[in-house]
């Protein structure tokens, strides 16, 4: 572990130096003036530039195109990207995270040929949730029926981010309706250009069209694109999902730290009640800032120590539930304070947001968007169930 950390620290000046030379100053306002497809292309281009310089996936093994720096290297890269306020290729979050981790861990040689395409900017979307299978994901009903060399897929998926731009879909589908629900699920990689797929964007509360519904109507998926065996889909999805989610928190912790610093500077320029004073002089506000600063320190300690433990044991388990809960609820409190200080400025409609980060610098939109963190990938309520049942050993929910 210590070796990992020191190797990662030796890498730090390389990425910080490169970022200084390749500043993307003004990228947020440029994106705001672009169309959504231009935004996606911008992120794809930026991902290619990062990869050409070796900074997109420094944590990946060298054999897959990374630098072999592990979690520690990922933390360093995220810290430096955050410090430089560089764009993060969010539309590729699934490709670079969950898809890549699944391919590396469970993919066949043929399936792993998709990894270079991920590094070239191809987008993966997730076909997990369904209209009737949200928190109760394992009740999903999309069917995959084996017919010779293919599976025929029928069903409907939802909340699939960037599916309109995706070339591939990570799909969970039921192959065996006879066994209990977790055991009949299989994991596939589906080519989004296959006949029978329809994608319909959903407008979100923020006004943007990031989510999509995806309809599968007799879609043929080659057997060679099944990941793992039939019935192993649930386990495969879980193992890589939690690891990737935790890794994402490194980035978000750094962003939060920077945003707090920005909030403090903003507040120093906003008026206080006494003539000539600033909002930062008001002790109620200072105490709020101190409370948030305290929690950011705690989140940082929690994230670093939990991920160090993951590096040592290779197993994240319920830790990811703790991290996600702590982060998402802190993000919600932080963005609320951030939005409240700006008065009427904050409630003006500036049009649908193009930037898709969680702390974009538009406080009201960021606050509204914080609900995607308390809902997506297991709601806060589901996380509390996981902690209560798997860590504290309390009786399980009734599962019919």
């Amino acid at each position: 572990m210590t070796d990992d950390r020191s190797a990662a620290e030796r890498y730090r000046p390389q990425i910080s130096g490169w970022l200084a030379e390749h500043s993307q100053a003004g990228w947020r306002s440029r994106l705001q003036a672009s169309s959504e497809s231009e935004v996606v292309r911008f992120y794809q281009d930026w991902a290619r530039q990062l990869q050409a310089a070796g900074h997109l996936v420094p944590h990946w093994p060298v054999s897959f195109g990374g630098r072999g720096l592990g979690f520690a290297g990922q933390a360093v890269a995220q810290q430096e990207l955050s410090r430089a306020d560089a764009p993060r290729p969010r539309p590729m979050a699934i490709s670079l995270g969950h898809a890549a981790a699944t391919l590396m861990e469970h993919g066949t040689e043929e399936q792993r040929k998709l990894i270079p395409r991920i590094l070239d900017g191809e987008i993966f979307c997730q076909g997990f949730s369904e209209p009737e299978a949200g928190s109760d994901l394992a009740s999903l009903r999309t069917r995959a029926v084996r017919r010779g060399d293919v599976y025929v897929v029928d069903g409907q998926k939802t909340w699939s981010s960037f599916a309109r731009y995706a070339r591939w879909c990570l799909l969970l589908a039921r192959t065996d309706p006879a066994v209990s629900k977790h055991r009949g699920i299989t994991f596939f990689i589906v080519d989004m250009l296959s006949p029978g797929i329809t994608v319909r964007p959903i407008r979100q509360a923020t006004g943007s069209w990031e989510f999509c519904e995806v309809f599968f109507d007799g879609v043929e998926v080659p057997v060679s694109m099944r990941v793992g065996g039939e019935g192993e889909g649930w386990r495969i999805a879980q193992t890589t999902l939690v690891t990737e989610r935790a890794a994402q928190l490194i980035e978000l912790t750094e962003s939060l730290r920077r945003s707090l610093d920005r909030l403090v500077r903003d507040a120093a320029c906003l008026p206080g009640r006494a003539p000539g004073s600033s909002l930062l002089d008001e002790s109620y506000f200072r105490a709020q800032v101190g409370a948030l600063g305290t929690e950011v320190e705690v989140l940082s300690a929690l994230t670093q120590r939990s991920l160090a433990a993951v590096t040592d044991t290779g197993d994240i388990g319920p830790t990811s539930s703790i991290l996600k809960l702590f982060f998402s609820e802190l993000l919600q409190r932080f963005t609320r304070v951030d939005a409240q200080v700006h008065g009427m400025d904050v409630v003006e409609d500036l049009g649908e947001p193009r930037e898709v980060g969680y702390l974009s610098g538009r406080p009201f939109i960021d606050h509204l968007r914080s609900w995607t963190w308390t809902i997506a990938a297991g709601t806060s309520e589901i996380q509390r169930n996981v902690i209560a049942e798997r860590v504290l050993g309390l009786p399980r929910e009734v599962r019919p």
Partner: protein, 393 residues
């Protein structure tokens, strides 16, 4: 030199073994009602194991532990609500005396003599904040102190007081024997700690009793303060973990409506939130210890160090207050009885938080340190040197 994870686990086991008969459920009320409020035999065992000299370098006769060790020990003690002056004497007063020896480099002085007694368990001391006392005199001729220090934690049973007071613009640190001041015990809601009001009645402080003054004294106090914050935070993290354990096992056995109450989401979610508070407390207090261990002793501590330690103190004490309250709620009526230990955890939690100046003061200090790091001007009244919320306890 910091200890390894294996060494810390062994230390935790050793302390747990030593404190095994200090079960807050069974034995506490008899002990705290005794004359000193703690068991002298236990204090002797702590001395024998080198735990009273944990923060004292080997060159000064201690066991040369690191801050990570302090967290391990205080977490265990917090878990059993160990009565006695460990934090006020073995952390607060001891840290100040170690700092004096390190900064001034003197040997055979009053500081070293008292330190030897504290490490051996022959005497106990408290660090007393006398900033409200009036002082006249000078370093050369000595000072005369008058006034009252209210509710000094650990002072009721201490044999000596390491006292700070202001003289002009300077801060001075001196040793005052118990017999020299009038002490009146103040009963605390947390009966495991004993406090006293100290009356200084034109008390003469001879030059020989002065341990440090000016920048030296300020640096010594800063270290001592952060170590107090760390120890109280660890005590809180340990207490919160223990009381969560009580609530969890109760929820797993108590049956209502034909089900264990722990099968209801209202209870499950409460316990899960308590668990997040407990885990995050453990993480941030361990981080604070690492940050302190990375500093050379005696140096002027940089702002980010104080920020992490203050954040740990604020988060651990607030979490303990919440978790102890939620534990009472989880237990229902039985948790509100005198016989049940929940109220003892609750009272320790509140003392810990108040001892460190309260939640708002700690948050304001974190804000001061954040804005200072951002290079922004401090508002009127904010301490220019970013002192801790609990100043010199």
């Amino acid at each position: 030199m910091t200890s390894t994870a294996e060494e810390r686990a062994a230390l935790a086991d050793a302390v747990a073994g030593l404190l095994a008969d200090h079960d807050p459920v069974d034995s506490l009320s008899a002990v705290v009602d005794g004359p000193t409020g703690y068991r002298p035999e236990t204090w002797g065992l702590l001395a024998d194991q080198g735990l009273l000299g944990l923060l004292v370098p080997e060159s000064l006769g201690g066991s040369g532990g690191c801050h990570g060790d302090v967290v391990v020990v205080c977490t265990q003690m917090g878990g059993v609500l160990l009565p006695g002056p460990f934090i006020s004497s073995a952390v607060a007063a001891t840290s100040a005396l170690v700092g004096v020896c390190e900064v001034t480099g003197t040997r055979g002085t009053a500081a070293e003599e008292l330190l030897g007694d504290l490490v051996a368990g022959r005497r106990t001391a408290a660090l007393v904040d006398g900033n409200q006392l009036t002082s006249t005199g000078s370093a050369e001729q000595g000072y005369v102190l008058s006034g009252t220090v209210r509710r000094a934690v650990g002072a009721a049973t201490a044999d000596a007081f390491v006292t700070t007071f202001g003289a002009g613009d300077e801060v001075v640190l001196a040793v005052v024997e118990r017999s020299a001041v009038e002490t009146a015990e103040v009963r605390l809601a947390d009966a495991t700690r004993r406090a006293a009001d100290l009356r200084f009645d034109d008390l003469a402080i001879p030059p020989a009793a002065i341990l440090a003054a000016g920048a030296d004294a300020a640096a010594v106090l800063r270290w001592a303060e952060l170590r107090i914050g760390l120890a109280v935070a660890a005590d809180s993290a340990g207490g919160a973990r223990e009381v969560l354990g009580l609530a969890t096992s109760y929820a797993g056995t108590r049956v209502q409506f034909g089900r264990t109450i722990g099968s209801f989401q209202a209870i499950k979610h409460k316990l899960a939130s308590m668990y997040v508070a407990v885990q995050s407390s453990a993480a941030v207090v361990a981080e604070a210890a690492d940050v302190l261990d990375a500093q050379a002793p005696g140096v002027q501590l940089p702002g980010p160090v104080a920020r992490t330690v203050t954040a740990a103190a604020a988060h651990c004490t607030s979490s303990y207050v919440s978790v102890a309250g939620d534990a009472i709620q989880t237990h229902g009526g039985i948790g509100f009885t005198w016989e049940h230990p929940c109220h003892r955890f609750f009272k320790r939690a509140w003392l810990n938080q108040a001892w460190l100046g309260g939640e708002a003061a700690m948050h304001l200090t974190v804000a001061d340190l954040l804005t200072a790091d951002a290079g922004l001007p401090q508002p009127d009244g904010a301490p220019a040197d970013g002192r801790t919320a609990w100043s010199a306890v």
